[in-house]
Subunit: 332 residues, 4 copies
């Protein structure tokens, strides 16, 4: 029985993580931290959950655990010292933020406009995408859980790129996400009156903070347009890609045999496209491939996943399973 600790248990990803860990047969939760709810029990915050006590970060006993999950908001100043202390104590870490996802220091500096605040941690971190980096994740002490948007672009594009099928290096990714992706913090962007029964685009083009991950993992030049859906969970991305002229649907589909044994990737039959409801509350990334103009290589890919499961907390459990030597799908 492995023992784990959770930093930031009362955000949306923390909640989902706890729900998964509670069902996991080989893991027990040693502590869970919260900021404003410290001192309460988890069931005080959400009555049908466990009575797990919520402690302040300082009160968490790092020595009682084998692995920690850090589910703190992007940019929290306490993250780096916490990760450092945990690694020094020989603990393994799965971090949910975007701090350690870019692996190249120069790339990080160029994209964020300043050098990485902890270069030695950055160089030790592994990008936590099991389908691409399974072997390294198994050995890693620090795993950077991927962004949810990036996943919806990387997994559909990587096999085509591996197969040498992508002709135009510029790919358009038009993504639509549920509101839980914005977290549980307050702000007009998550206010019911501004998000419900409406729809909007934001940070379109080349400005979104997680564009870098997509380009790092695919090697492509990506135009990325995120949109906010009036839905709680799920991401659906519509991807416009130009393959080698004349690429048949059979050839394009064949590229995905590289994922044939992946437990959580589902290439739909010809003619079907995934919908959010197909993947909500599941670990699947579902893919549909639509030829548009084969002579010029024009294809549309539609990819869907649950941003809180495959896109965050479920992925973290998948990574934990790899790191701790459990069956990869255990508890999922």
């Amino acid at each position: 029985m492995a023992r784990v600790g959770i930093y930031g248990a009362t955000g949306y990803t923390g909640f989902e993580l706890i729900k998964l860990l509670v069902r996991h047969p080989e893991v027990e939760i040693a502590f869970a931290t919260a900021r404003s709810a410290a001192g309460q029990r988890l069931s005080d915050v959400f009555p049908t959950m466990l009575d797990t006590p919520l402690v302040a970060v300082e009160a968490a006993d790092l020595h009682a655990v084998d692995l920690i999950f850090t589910c703190l908001p992007h940019g929290t100043s306490e993250l780096i010292p916490l990760v450092q202390t945990a690694l020094e104590a020989g603990k393994r870490v799965i971090d949910f933020s975007d701090t350690f996802r870019l692996t190249d220091p120069d790339d990080y500096a160029r994209r964020r406009g300043k050098p990485h605040p902890a270069p030695e941690l950055q160089s030790a971190a592994v990008y936590g995408l099991p389908e691409l980096h399974r072997a390294q994740i198994r050995q890693a002490h620090l795993v950077a859980n991927t962004g949810c948007y990036p996943l919806s672009a990387i997994l559909p594009l990587w096999p085509l790129e591996q197969a040498g099928l992508i002709a135009d290096r510029t790919v358009i990714v038009d993504s639509k996400s549920g509101v839980s992706g914005a977290g549980r913090s307050l702000g007009m962007k998550t206010h019911f009156g501004e998000t419900h029964e409406t729809f909007s685009a934001y940070s379109v083009g080349r400005t979104h903070r997680h564009l870098g991950e997509m380009e790092q993992e695919t090697g492509l030049h990506i135009i990325f347009s995120p949109h906010l859906l009036p839905v709680y969970r799920g991401i659906l991305s519509t991807i416009y890609v130009t393959l080698q002229p004349g690429t048949t649907l059979a050839q394009a589909r064949a590229a995905y045999t590289v994922f044939a044994d992946e437990p959580f990737i589902k290439l739909l039959p010809e003619g079907r496209l995934p919908e959010l409801r197909h993947v909500q509350q599941t670990m699947f990334l579902a893919l549909g491939l639509q030829p548009v103009e084969i002579d010029v290589g024009r294809y549309i890919i539609v990819a869907a996943l649950d941003n809180l499961l495959k896109g965050a907390s479920g992925q973290a459990v998948q990574n934990m399973n790899l790191m701790l030597g459990f069956a990869e799908t255990m508890g999922l």
Copy 2:
């Protein structure tokens, strides 16, 4: 052409009020105030609205107007001095808050646990329900726009009470409201993740702040359960009332002839109950009357209205029309 000023133009009721006033043939907006958006134009906040400049409260020229609307959050400290100044300057005031709705000082003190902060204003105020107080509203200098929940209980119950048909003085009002009723302020109660695709009860029984209005206007003892719908606008109340044993449906319906000439009250035909979509974006309060057990006088009334129109900003325009001598339905 009358000139009006709006204090608090960027909340949900302020927005709706401006949309109505823009279409009103006899009124022009002299100023609109905002707090954080002062200095911007209305179209900066909401791009398809007018370019009306938003000014700070101090910059609003009270002398340029005939009437002001105060759409400030409940309990704003600046309200009372503002109303006082306006009335002293001979301006008429329609206030959206619950400050002046209770007309009896003792009742106010008992319900709120402290005396009214401005008793002379309280005694001058008229409860702004045209269907019940039309004549006084015409003369009033200070009109207290009603609460949206109370409206959904008072208008259905008052005719039955007038007709002497109500046997049991205790009436149960089970109300369900869209989220816009909670305003545009930030809080977990209006966070998409806590309100969307869910449903909850709050302040049930005898604790809601606007219970007093309902009892003041109906003279009944009310058990009131508000609930939060995952919907933007609209209130639907299901009312459980015991009439005199044996009251027939025809007798009960006859009580509503007192509203026969009301432009905004719609008693549906026998067998029909109103739905939110019937009244959203309209000024109607729609009513359905369902006999349950006639021998013991048991009836259910379902009432629906748009909380932002008949329940707030539309009602304010109706009151303004009365106060300024325009046709009551003008611009509505």
Copy 3:
């Protein structure tokens, strides 16, 4: 390993049932029937589900199973012969319809206006509410899964009734349900344009088809008002009950100790009321108890459950576990 068959696999309750059974460690699905989708695989209908073949009712091999679930729409003519055949073949049956829920023939005849079509089956059936009839369910060959609305009234009221605390035999149950309760059939009542962003009451008073179950199990006289929420899953009922005058909150809460060991019933702490999101995707029925006027015994109970899980498919698995001798919470 027990083997089960599912009649009606492609409705909403069928889907949920399959999702649960797939995770159940002691059960395998021997067949699943569908009408229009017969000949396809389950994954053709819903791509992230299993490749289970869907067969026509006639093609289902009843002899291959130990127990069947009949998830057919209310009133399907093929139900009774199917149940009869299954019972004669020594199979056990869990039926989702309302055909066998009323246990008294006279009560059935009076409420439905005609005698029961299969009186011998009716008399053999057990009302499938584990919290009240656990022992009989264990022995039963035919279990009538309960209605989802009735559950939300029976479980909150039964302990108070057992404790002799209910003073007024008439209880008001104001219920609000998500749209999945209306099933997957087409009709204006489930059309997006008529259900989304709106709210409505229907069959209020004493007319709803499942009122009988509530009264049968509680012995009370119930006024029942169902409403349709613009939400997919979940039921929340607000119950107005008059207890013995002077009943304290502690006394009222004590009545629920009868449920202290129930795995799926959660009485919330004082001052908390359940919300739909607390119970969606879970097996919990969550309860909050609010004293209103203790001197006259007036209380409000708020109860919430997931209509597809505790209210239908999860309950069916709970019943199956009892009937087949597994741990009651297995797979739930």
Copy 4:
């Protein structure tokens, strides 16, 4: 006072049309037809609307009107004879279907796979887009109201094309529409359980029925991906266009001065993108222009409109105003 008749009054576009016409100062509704609701009044279908009688098509008195609106489902066989009769009787016609939108017979035949069923009507019809064909609409006897999706692509692209700025003839239009676009007919695509809290793509690439209009009016080659939003009304399109390399934002924005006097087109300030809530319940098409990579001419345009108003019924009233010589914005 002009008199108009409405064929198909009880669909979503019929409803919206009636709401507009009721407020229009120069028009009165002479008749309104319905199929299943014939014989009832409009208020029987929707209680807060007028008591206008609904008649069967055969009972409509064509001679009593100056102009008819045909709001019948796409492909209704009764449409062509109806239009023919109306035109022969000297009446003017505004048709909501896609029957008369393609103006070139060869184009029609190629895209639909068969010749036009009424070529003489086709050649007489004018494409009902006031911003492009105002003069012809004024003279037209038969106006083909545009599709709602096409509007969201044509209006943003046409000015750039007029200005000679579009470098790559292939443009990607990624559109998202509310469910009301699918009409009030029953089908799984409009079933609450399959559309609510989800999101999906359909007919992506070059297969959607209304692609032809977009290409006809813009002269461009369009890749079009429609998606279904869990929202009632509104369309938002994200358009990926490649302009002449080096085109500055100022140059691109200058192209839209051609629309400077258009009452219903709103180019948002630099840096702003429209959201659905900005245009819902309004006549506006709102546009935001985002430069992505100016050196290669890459731009993203976001366009939003209300599919039932500017995209259908409001546009019809705008066209009627032109045809009958009223001010173009009257009643809008």
